[in-house]
């Protein structure tokens, strides 16, 4: 493993380096994915561009729309007061990434660009209809997160482009989110399945106005369970409706068998965890009202 290390001190410099090295370069944020992949020989960049001197990308702005700088760590998300209410799923997901040491350095931008189908924070962002902003030599582009994630480890990011931020709208009244994860251990665990949901109820809290369900580790990318979402929208959210959404979600995902779990078990988990997360969201809306 031999490479050159660069330490740009501004977004402009980082983008310039990114443009210069293209496919041969990799940005390093927390390094918790990149370094391991380099050590295992999965990637071999000639140039590693550390972002630790780049300022301005580690902030959370939450007046109006929410903007997370790409270098915001999971620890920062976990502790962010703005996420204690309806956006709680962000805290729930960030709080179970690895262990303390990982969360202190690992970033939301890394979680997104790494594009693991098992990433924990990504499904929550997907359930929030987030967009991502990339900056390259040709300027800035904003894409939906859903469109950004194209395959395992693959995104629509162009070679050398820097992810600068991820953005989503505040939730309307009568909304809540929830995140649940299953794995073999209670910590330091890669999701066998993870589920993020967002619910918005109508003014009377009688029916579901809008639903988002995102599934991790059951498809080549983090996946929206659209059929399940549709089955909720406009409906009163009885337990039977929630369970039906679980069954639909289990049907529309495409898990594989691997050393962590069988496809069969992953489907069973989706069927179970989707209603569980939805129930939790409903309780949260009820409690907030």
């Amino acid at each position: 493993m031999s490479f050159e290390c660069h330490e740009p001190s501004s977004v402009t410099d980082a983008v310039a380096l990114g443009a210069r090295f293209g496919e041969e370069g990799r940005f390093l944020a927390g390094g918790t994915d990149l370094i391991i992949q380099m050590r295992r020989g999965k990637v071999g960049p000639r140039h590693v561009m550390s972002l630790h001197r780049v300022s301005g990308l580690d902030r959370i702005e939450a007046d109006g729309a929410v903007r997370l700088g790409a270098l915001v760590t999971h620890r920062t998300i976990e502790r962010c007061p703005a996420f204690q209410g309806p956006l709680q799923a962000l805290v729930e997901s960030a709080a179970v990434v690895g262990g303390h040491q990982i969360r202190n350095v690992a970033t939301v931008g890394g979680n997104i660009v790494n594009a693991s189908p098992a990433a924990d924070v990504v499904p929550v962002l997907l359930a929030l209809d987030a967009t991502v902003t990339c900056l390259g030599p040709d300027g800035e582009r904003t894409l939906t997160l859903d469109g950004f994630l194209t395959g395992p480890g693959q995104t629509a990011r162009r070679p050398g482009e820097l992810l600068t931020s991820v953005r989503f709208d505040q939730l309307p009244p009568g909304s809540a989110t929830a995140f649940v994860k299953a794995g073999r251990r209670k910590a330091m665990e890669i999701s066998v399945v993870c589920v993020a949901v967002r619910l918005t109820l109508d003014a009377a809290h009688a029916r579901c106005q809008e639903a988002r369900i995102a599934l991790g580790a059951v498809a080549p990318t983090t996946l929206r369970a659209r059929a399940a979402e549709r089955a909720l929208e406009g409906q009163p959210l009885t337990d039977e409706v929630l369970r039906r959404a679980g069954r639909l979600a289990a049907g529309e995902c495409g898990p594989i068998d691997d050393v962590r779990a069988s496809a069969r078990y992953r489907r069973l988990l989706v069927e179970t965890l989707v209603p569980r997360a939805l129930r939790r969201s409903l309780e949260r809306i009820g409690r907030a009202a």
Partner: protein, 758 residues
């Protein structure tokens, strides 16, 4: 003398604590010498293949490369324990993915890795066998075609891919089944697991100009490594010095030669010191993990719950070499019989070759696998008979004076007390307190391994004492326990003892840190040495005072008697002025345990010495939908004979339980087609603190007549019962009986959903 022990039995801090807590203790992986090279091992990519050629010419020319060795460069010897079937490098063929094929030493690790990549190996794949069933099938490919020609201890029963079949026969098992009202047959399986020591295997070797090699290694058995290296290097043991600087955990995985021989061979070739530290991937693909097993149990019981007969067979997948297999298969038969009165037994343990990594010993080798089957079945039978599992066990357990499975007479049997106290502590009366919550029990027995120990004890000029032992402090605080015994018997404080250990040139022989024996055997050797030193001290004082030595005693750091006292520091000065100082020698060998030789065949370990007895109880909940298990409480009642230092015994219990719960719930090295699918700690799942419950220890003391102050071996037993206890509690909680390890959430959930039999 004094009124009861002052030092031994007390909760005193271990002697090696400051260095380990502050990070200044030196472990083998820390060890470095000037000019040291880095060694790396090239490992087979094929599971079973003829080795057509190993071409290292290109590797030898690479920058920084100082030595490249292959089978052609090393003595052609077969070595091993009970069965000598191993070679340093694969010769005619490779037998598992991960088998060493060549090794290199270079100025940097990166250069060594580049050299490995430049060695060309040509393989011609052969049909392979990846599990016991395939290895035993008629016409299965032989892993070792030349097995009849190998050197082995004569008692082994070998045949083709079976490298030992050990057997216990007692009574008449068929008659026993006829006497039974019900006969139960069950099958179980357990997965391959790694010891999970924190420090990978590491060694540094250097040769001097006289042709002597010194190896610093984190081995548990320096004297065994000395002998193995003598075989491999074709040198007398006197040319081989093995020193253990420190061990970051071993649990049986560092008993046998790991990287010491590569370091020594490379260092000889390069003329420079060579260090090798294994990677995590090497640990999980080419170390000495715990064997996976298959078990069949057939047990006959009367209607009122008395066991009349048991037929049991356990097959160990020992991998491509015998390793510990023949011995482990033997020990297993005693565990499979269990701590129960069973008049009629036919128990067999098989060690079977496959094209996988060579398995070894892991904390109570065979214990967890065999106990999982035995204790799961005890609950299954109790359920079928409508008996309480505790009552069923109490009806059948061995008691004082009973015979063990091979006819040994059992004494100091604390099993009933262990069972009753563990059950009481877990709240057994309320076995299913709420929905999806249940409690499980399991009990067992284990040995205190024999073997001899020697110590030297030297009086220091300041009246303190140096304990010189060939045993290594593996992390259990066993040597602190032994030092407590020594301090007690010499009338000094624990802080007055300093320990020098594990150097084959400087310390007396010791059978090694294995088999729960270190505190037991070294402690007893300390008792003998203390008696010798007391005699010498009294003789010296007696000569000063002109009195008979027999009238004097050693107490409170003085020799006293005849109305006088003289401090040890003064005697130290006197002895140095006149007699070259005082040094005492103490030795110990566990007396043989009598057994009925007619009951055993091909058995390497026919009786348990100073056996310990234990019961575990767990309280857990199961998530019915996801299958996830949450552990609430865990109780261990263990008969330790005498608690030399309760703090560290509790430490052993907590650690052993944690490891056992890993095997129970989450850990498994998964093979597919001869390759490990999870050779990393991302997917080899050892439990974290959040996965583990509080472990409560109850120390039961039925003193061993042989152990120091009555102590029994304590290190291995806590690892035995967790899988069975968990399986029983899961069954109690949700009615699902998982008969394979690990008991993953997936197995539980799929069984609950009716989709699969676990």
């Amino acid at each position: 003398m004094s009124t009861g022990p002052r030092v031994v039995g007390q909760r005193l801090p271990r002697l090696d604590a400051p260095g380990k807590v502050t990070g200044t203790a030196v472990y083998a992986a820390d060890f470095a010498l000037p000019g040291m090279l880095h060694g790396k091992v090239l490992r087979s990519r094929e599971a079973h293949a003829r080795l057509l050629g190993v071409d290292a010419a290109r590797a030898r020319t690479l920058p920084g490369v100082r030595a490249v060795i292959t089978a052609a460069d090393v003595p052609d010897v077969r070595y091993g324990g009970a069965l000598k079937d191993e070679t340093v490098f694969a010769r005619d063929k490779v037998r598992y993915v991960g088998q060493p094929v060549a090794a290199v030493a270079a100025t940097t690790r990166e250069a060594a890795e580049a050299a490995l990549a430049a060695i060309d190996v040509a393989y011609e794949p052969l049909p392979a066998v990846f599990d016991v069933e395939a290895a035993l099938a008629p016409g299965a490919p032989l892993i070792h075609e030349a097995w009849p020609t190998y050197t082995a201890i004569p008692i082994l029963h070998r045949e083709g891919n079976v490298c030992n079949r050990a057997r216990i026969v007692a009574g008449d098992v068929e008659r026993g089944f006829v006497e039974a009202d019900r006969v139960f047959e069950h099958r179980f399986r357990t997965g391959m697991v790694h010891q999970g020591y924190t420090e990978p295997r590491a060694a540094v070797a250097v040769w001097d100009t006289s042709g002597q090699v010194t190896v610093w290694s984190n081995t548990q058995l320096p004297f065994e490594i000395q002998n193995t290296l003598a075989e491999i290097l074709a040198l007398p043991p006197s040319k081989i010095r093995v020193i253990v600087p420190g061990i970051g955990g071993g649990f049986g995985g560092k008993l046998r030669v790991g990287v010491e021989h590569f370091a020594a061979l490379l260092a000889r070739r390069a003329g420079r010191p060579v260090k090798i530290v294994t990677t995590c991937e090497e640990e999980l693909t080419a170390a000495y993990p715990r064997q996976s097993t298959r078990v069949e149990l057939k047990t006959g019981v009367t209607r009122d719950g008395r066991i009349t007969a048991k037929a049991g067979r356990i097959w160990f997948d020992t991998g491509a070499f015998a390793g510990s297999g023949p011995g482990v298969a033997s020990v297993a038969t005693l565990v499979l019989a269990g701590p129960y009165r069973i008049p009629n037994l036919l128990i067999e343990g098989y060690a079977v070759y496959t094209n996988k990594t060579n398995c070894g010993s892991f904390r109570a080798p065979s214990g967890p696998q065999a106990n999982f089957a035995v204790e799961s079945q005890m609950d299954m039978i109790a359920d079928a008979l409508g008996l309480d599992p505790l009552d069923f066990r109490l009806k059948n357990i061995v008691r004082e004076g009973d015979e063990g499975p091979t006819g040994q007479v059992l004494t100091a049997v604390g099993l009933e007390e262990c069972l009753r106290r563990a059950a009481a502590a877990i709240g057994w009366a309320d076995r299913r307190p709420t929905a999806d919550r249940g409690k499980g029990l399991a009990c067992g027995w284990w040995t205190t391994t024999g073997g001899s120990s020697g110590v030297y004890v030297k009086l220091n000029p300041d009246g303190t004492v140096a304990l010189n032992t060939g045993a290594a402090e593996i992390g259990t605080a066993a040597l602190t326990g032994a030092a407590q015994v020594l301090a007690e018997d010499l009338g000094v404080d624990l802080a007055d003892i300093s320990v020098v250990s594990a150097d084959t040139f400087a310390t007396p022989f010791d059978f090694g840190a294995q088999g729960s024996r270190t505190a037991f055997a070294v402690g007893n050797a300390c008792r003998a040495a203390a008696a010798d030193l007391r005699r010498q001290l009294c003789a010296l004082a007696a000569a000063q005072w002109g009195v008979a030595a027999e009238t004097l005693t050693v107490r409170d750091k003085h020799v006293v008697g005849d109305g006088k006292r003289i401090a040890l520091v003064e005697l130290a000065r006197l002895s140095q002025a006149s007699g070259g100082g005082l040094i005492a020698h103490g030795t110990f060998i566990a007396p043989p345990t009598a057994y009925d030789a007619k009951r055993v065949e091909a058995h390497v370990y026919p009786a348990f010495h100073s056996p310990s007895f234990h019961a575990h109880a767990v309280d857990l909940s199961v998530d019915r939908e996801t299958g996830e298990v949450t552990l609430h409480r865990y109780v261990v009642a263990q008969d330790v004979g005498f608690a030399m230092n309760p703090t560290y015994i509790e430490g052993q219990i907590e650690g052993g339980v944690a490891q056992g719960l890993g095997q129970a719930l989450s850990e498994e090295i998964v093979y597919e087609g001869g390759r490990v699918l999870n050779p990393n700690l991302t997917d080899y799942k050892m439990p974290t603190t959040l996965d583990l419950p509080r472990v409560e220890s109850i120390l039961v003391e039925h003193p061993s007549p042989v152990g120091p102050y009555g102590a029994k071996g304590v290190g291995e037993p806590p690892n035995i019962e967790p899988p069975a206890a968990v399986a029983n509690a899961v069954a109690a909680a949700v009615g699902v009986r998982v008969t394979t390890l690990p008991i993953t959430a997936e197995k539980v959930a799929l069984a609950l959903s009716g989709e699969a039999t676990p």
